[in-house]
Amino acid sequence: MSTVKYSKEHEWIKVDGDIATIGITKHATEMLGDIVFAELPEKGSNVEKDGTAGVVESTKAASDVYTPVSGEVVDTNQAIVDDPSKINQDPEDSAWFFKLKIKDPSEMDTLMNKDDYDKFAKETSA
């Protein structure tokens, strides 16, 4: 069974075994507007929890993408680099950003579940 959790920086993370898939939430895409550029971390690189692991840009501005947990980047989604509008269309499924081999599973405990994140998103955007 897979678990989905959420960060305060509006990333979602889905874990299957020791592999995590990470992307940005629908709420994040609504705040950003039309996404026209995406930059992903390099395959094989190591990223640290809460560190920068990519960039998205809308017509208005650039925003960093952070990784909610530490690990080694094992895969990246070239499809969203080639067509960034896919991120607006399907942010929480096919438009994932990168996959990590998780370094420390206990880091997952610091993240929010769906109900808590929805509440957090509502409060912070009000």
């Binding site: 039309d34 026209v36 840009e57 017509t59 208005k60």
Partner: protein, 367 residues
């Protein structure tokens, strides 16, 4: 200071606008469909822009006014035909730009459209220069909307009969609900279109009529991507007091006749720069790939020497790629010169290109 609202505020809200504060006004940055869709709708169909925050300065006067304004603006106003418009600038004595503007000759004098953030200062400067000789009204009782895009002529003509006969950069008085509206065939998107000056109490009704005929409200976000694709300058970014019209590559807007006389504010510097060249100049910049270079991005030459800076940069939805403009040292301003842009610490290849990025022809000869 409390932010002001335009007379279309309620309509913006009804259309689910996201607002931003701009030059002291609550203005719509985008509506529910988003900047890319709004941009494309304007290019392919027709978009309405609330630009009521811009200044509408009416100056009343005759022959003396023409002479006095020619001391200020580098234009041949004497030979400008009634109801015809010109793009120009208000400059200081060093030819630094206080504002860029559109000036139209009316039957009572001139109408000058000023940038929102500059209008109060412009009025102060013009009052000092004209020494209370003429009645000047920065009219807060009139709204200004633009309707832009290929279907705009048909849509507006359905509501205000006769506008489709206007030529580009000319205008006239028309009637809507028995109100006098001043309409010019102009705009700032690179599309055919019109700007409409109308009493505040009637702008909501007019705009709703235009929406009923198939046009849509478009936010400031798409206005920015549209004007940048069209290679047009935004004051406070591409133009300011540290830049002259020659450096801004806008010498086409300076009357040759007036240069030969050299009797307007800033003319010494303009003539010097036209004769001797400039050290920096505004160019189009096309990044390779998809990287977006925003304002203040540093530009380097192939030997890694810093040669300039981006002043506007975004993603162009019609170009389907990044577009930018900026100032570079003159020797690197030739088309196709290879440069590098420093974005997030990395240098990305780009090239100098001619403007605009996106070109359509304006309607010139309907009559």
């Amino acid at each position: 200071m409390e932010t002001k609202k335009t007379s279309l505020y309620q309509l913006h809200q009804d259309c689910n606008a996201k607002f931003v504060e701009f030059a002291g006004y609550q203005m719509p940055i985008q509506y529910s469909e988003g900047i890319v869709e709004e941009h494309k709708f304007t290019r392919n169909h027709s978009g309405i822009f609330d630009v009521s925050h811009m200044g509408q300065l009416f100056i009343y006067g005759g022959e003396d006014l023409i002479k006095d304004l020619e001391k200020i603006f580098p234009l041949d106003l004497k030979n400008l035909k009634l109801n015809h418009s010109k793009y120009s600038f208000l400059m200081d004595k060093d030819a630094g730009i206080h504002d860029d503007l559109i000036i139209t000759k009316t039957n009572e004098g001139f109408l000058i459209i000023l940038n929102a953030a500059c209008k109060d200062n412009d009025l102060k400067i013009l009052k000092e220069l004209l020494k209370e000789k003429y009645k000047m009204v920065l009219d807060e009782n009139r709204s200004l909307i633009a309707i832009q895009g290929p279907k705009s002529s048909e849509i507006l003509d359905d509501v205000v009969n006769g506008v489709k006969d206007l030529n580009f950069m000319s205008g006239n008085w028309f009637s809507f609900e028995n109100q006098k509206v001043y309409i010019t065939r102009s705009g700032y998107t690179g599309e055919d279109g019109f700007e409409i000056s109308i009493a505040n109490d009637f702008v909501d009704k007019l705009t709703r009529e235009l929406i009923k005929k198939g046009s849509k409200l478009i936010g400031l976000g798409a206005r920015d991507t549209l004007r940048l694709e069209a290679g047009l300058c935004l004051y406070g970014h591409d133009l300011d007091k540290d830049k002259t019209p020659v450096e801004a590559n806008l010498k086409w807007a300076i009357s040759k006749e007036r240069i030969s006389k050299g009797d307007f504010i800033g003319s010494d510097i303009i003539i010097k720069q036209l004769n001797n060249g400039v050290s920096k100049i505004r160019v189009g910049i096309k990044p390779e790939g998809r990287i977006i270079a925003r304002e203040k991005t540093k530009i380097f030459n192939q030997s890694d020497v810093h040669i300039g800076e981006i002043t506007s940069g975004t993603f162009g939805p019609s170009v389907n790629g990044p577009v930018a403009m900026g100032y570079v040292e003159n020797q690197f301003s030739k088309k196709n010169t290879k440069v590098f842009l420093e974005v997030r610490g990395k240098k990305h290849p780009a090239s100098v290109c001619s403007l605009p990025f996106y070109k359509k022809s304006y309607v010139k000869g309907v009559n």
